[in-house]
């Protein structure tokens, strides 16, 4: 082991190329993972932030707000279902927002929520014409007290506070009471306005097992609703599923590439060291010790590459202007990427094991080295 480490220290240039390639592959893994997480979180933060146990949509809406309608009769059935402790409307509409001091064509896309049961980090529904804003809006220059103009009719919404990341479909959110929401939709999107007592969905709190309560609600409404936990809404999102599968496949193949690259590099190195290994075996070194050195080198190179890749990935997150790319690098993603690379290092090295085992110590005598 010590000899393997000394080689790394004393002949770093020999390994520079491999480290560069592994760094890029590591950066690629983190970029892909960060994009996937950014897409998922940015698309669904507002859902995962829900404190309600369940969200009720109309059946066949695909758990999408815009395609869902819950009329008052259905809402009453839901509220009366065994185990349900509270229900509240939950609606959303997409609008263009003008921040103070922004140019006439300088708008930010926002998702205006009308709510009754506050999500995590959001206070009780504010007064008419007021809203909490997602912190990503603050990144774009909004401040508490700002009056934001939304929609073609430039309806006024006053920001009374910021809430933790509750983005939805990769856009910042505004959280207003249901009446404010209805009024703004009626003025700006008359084709999307809802009737009195009608909501796009219901946020529901329950006692006991939420999944069991969900089944009871859907049974009580005669199958005209689809009730899911917030996590279930995210999982049911076909777009999210497709994203996960596609990115997962790309990440998997990238790890496979890392295995092949490491295998290739160490196969070349081992071939070059055949003479040296022959001598060491002649002197009594065991194949296992020599191979352990190879594995140690591979893992150290991979760790070094991972550190640099992590730094690059973090630098990218800082450098990217908000909204340009949906990118969110978490510690979990970094750890899983590094772990994948380390696993690739061990597996890649295994291709050299046979060669190390086959080196004949007798080749050291006779000047054949």
């Amino acid at each position: 082991m010590k000899i393997a480490l000394l080689e790394l220290r004393r002949q770093p240039r020999r390994f520079g190329g491999a480290v560069a390639i592994l760094t890029l592959l590591g950066a690629l893994l983190m970029l892909l993972g960060g994009l996937l997480d950014g897409l998922t979180e940015g698309g669904t933060n507002a859902i995962t932030a829900q404190r309600a146990d369940l969200i009720v949509y109309s059946a066949n809406s695909g758990a999408k707000f815009a395609q869902s309608r819950i009329d008052p009769a259905t809402a009453a059935v839901v509220a009366g279902t065994d185990g349900v402790t509270d229900t509240g409307a939950l609606n959303v509409v997409q609008l263009g927002a003008r921040l103070p001091d922004s140019g006439p064509r300088d708008l930010v896309g926002v998702r205006l929520f009308g709510y009754e049961i506050p999500p995590a980090g959001v206070g009780a529904p504010p007064a008419a014409g007021e809203a909490y804003a997602d912190v990503t809006l603050r990144d774009r220059g909004a401040q508490v007290g700002d009056v934001v103009l939304v929609g073609s009719q430039k309806s006024k919404v006053k920001i009374i506070g910021f809430v933790p990341d509750t983005t939805y479909v990769l856009e910042p959110t505004l959280w207003a009471n249901v009446e404010t929401w209805s009024s703004i939709v009626g003025a700006n999107r008359p084709s999307e306005q809802l009737g009195v007592g009608v909501s796009q969905s219901l946020a529901v709190t329950v006692t006991g097992d939420p999944l069991a309560a969900a089944s009871r609600i859907d049974a009580a409404t005669g199958g005209t609703t689809t009730t899911l936990t917030p996590a279930g809404v995210v999982e049911a999102d076909k777009g999210v599923q497709s994203q996960n599968a596609t990115f997962g496949g790309i990440i998997g193949i990238t790890v496979l590439i890392a295995i092949v690259v490491i295998a290739l590099f160490f196969a070349l190195l081992t071939a070059e060291r055949t003479g040296l290994y022959g001598v060491l075996k002649a002197l009594g070194a065991r194949s296992g010790a020599l191979f352990a050195g190879v594995v140690a080198q591979a893992m150290i190179l991979t760790l070094i590459a991972s550190l640099i890749a992590t730094a690059l990935a973090l630098a990218l997150e800082v450098a990217l202007p908000p909204g340009v790319v949906p990118y969110s690098l978490s510690a979990t993603r970094v750890i899983s990427s590094v772990g994948s690379l380390l696993l690739a290092a061990v597996v890649g090295c295994a291709f050299s094991l046979r060669r190390v085992l086959r080196i004949d110590p007798a080749s050291a005598i006779g000047g054949s080295t």
Binding site: L31, G62, V260, A263, F265
Partner: protein, 372 residues
């Protein structure tokens, strides 16, 4: 050629591994290029392949068709612009439907004038002639959007019949093009409480001889609440398109560096390892140019075979659908990346070539070149 092939045959394992690495990289690049193009087409195919050269949205819609509303007064103002020859209404709504026995969301686009907002890529069937008829995207045919299929808009149960199919007309979802009247029926079928249904966009035909850019500038001069763009501008600047393109650009840049780096490093290491043999060849009279040529032949073969492997892996996937995204085998994309990787691979091997050129044949007598 003789030297290059002999060496490759004798060290088959390492060359096969390199070809495998390059093949996988090429496959990933082609696959991701297809996803990128498929995503963009899924987002804005319906914009790119409709007949209106210019579209006017409300500024607050941020170039998202379904989020835009244009009232009658604004439409009148647009029609009054000198460079505008003709206008028509367009609308878009995302509606829950059942199709092919499954519940799904579809995008319904309505046009009041087929020549100004209708699909341009009709391949089978015909355009709608009566209420309740639609043109669907050819790529969605297997999902219940084939000619003759009936799609039911929920919750009202409004039936829509597919009478034609066009290529690449999706707008984020499986998309149906229909008349504006049917479009308003769909809006009411999905939301009985809907108020006034205004068009989401105004389709504009410029006067003869007037460019799209001129018309858009004149329309935008009407006020800050209108956002006029040419068809290609709207496709380019629709939400999500820029993000998709930027995201994939970052990925492609990394791939573009990894492939030549892997190739270059491999050949540099191998050149160092066979320095002794190369010195010997130089000493017995083989020219440097011949040795460099042999190296470049190997690079060409390795990258070429890597491309073959990558394309072969990609081919079966290229006709598949990933969720809503239809992948395609785009010859131009394959040719572009093939040429790029070949050139980058050859360039990266110049480092090894330099090493070959630096060999001094006298070292054969001292043994200094051996084992270096």
């Amino acid at each position: 050629m003789f030297l290059a092939l002999k060496e490759m045959r004798r060290s088959l394992g390492r060359f096969v591994m390199l070809i495998a690495a390059i093949g996988l990289l090429v496959f990933l690049v082609l696959f991701q290029a297809a996803i990128r193009n498929g995503l963009v087409t899924t987002f804005v195919g319906g914009i790119e392949n409709q007949s209106a050269p210019v579209l006017v949205l409300s500024t607050d819609a941020l170039r998202q068709l379904s989020a835009s509303t244009i009232d009658a007064a604004t439409q009148q103002s647009i029609s009054s612009v000198n460079s505008v020859a003709e206008t028509a209404q367009m609308g878009q709504v995302v509606a829950p439907v059942t199709a092919g026995g499954e519940s799904r969301a579809v995008s319904v686009v309505g046009y009041s004038n087929a020549e100004l907002g209708g699909p341009t890529t009709l391949v089978t069937g015909r355009l709608p002639q009566v209420a309740g008829e639609v043109v669907a995207n050819l790529g969605d045919a297997a999902d219940g959007f084939a000619i003759g299929d009936t799609i039911t808009v929920l919750p009202a149960g409004l039936p829509l019949k597919v009478v034609g199919q066009a290529t690449d007309i999706d707008l984020g979802f499986p998309t149906l093009f229909t008349t504006f009247d049917t479009f308003t029926d769909v809006v009411r079928a999905t939301n009985p409480d809907a108020g006034e249904i205004s068009p989401n966009a105004i389709a504009v035909r410029p006067q003869a001889g007037v460019s799209g850019e001129t018309v858009t500038a004149e329309i935008n001069a009407l006020g800050d609440d209108v956002d006029a763009l040419t068809r290609s501008q709207l496709a380019e600047q629709s939400p999500g398109v820029a993000q998709v393109k930027t995201s994939f650009l970052l990925i492609f840049i990394i791939f573009g560096i990894v492939v030549p780096l892997v190739t270059g490093l491999f050949f540099l290491i191998v050149t160092f390892q066979k320095a002794g043999s190369l010195t010997l060849l130089r000493a017995v009279g083989v020219r440097s140019a011949a040795l460099v040529r042999s190296l470049l032949v190997q690079v060409f073969i390795v990258v070429g075979l890597g491309l073959v492997v990558g394309i072969a892996l990609y081919l079966p996937l290229s006709s598949q659908k990933l969720g809503n995204i239809s992948l395609k085998f785009e010859t131009a994309v394959v040719i572009f990346w093939s040429i790029l990787f070949l050139v980058l691979g050859l360039l990266s091997s110049l480092v090894a070539a330099r090493r070959v050129l630096a060999i001094d044949p006298i070292e054969a007598t001292t043994g200094a070149g051996v084992g270096r």
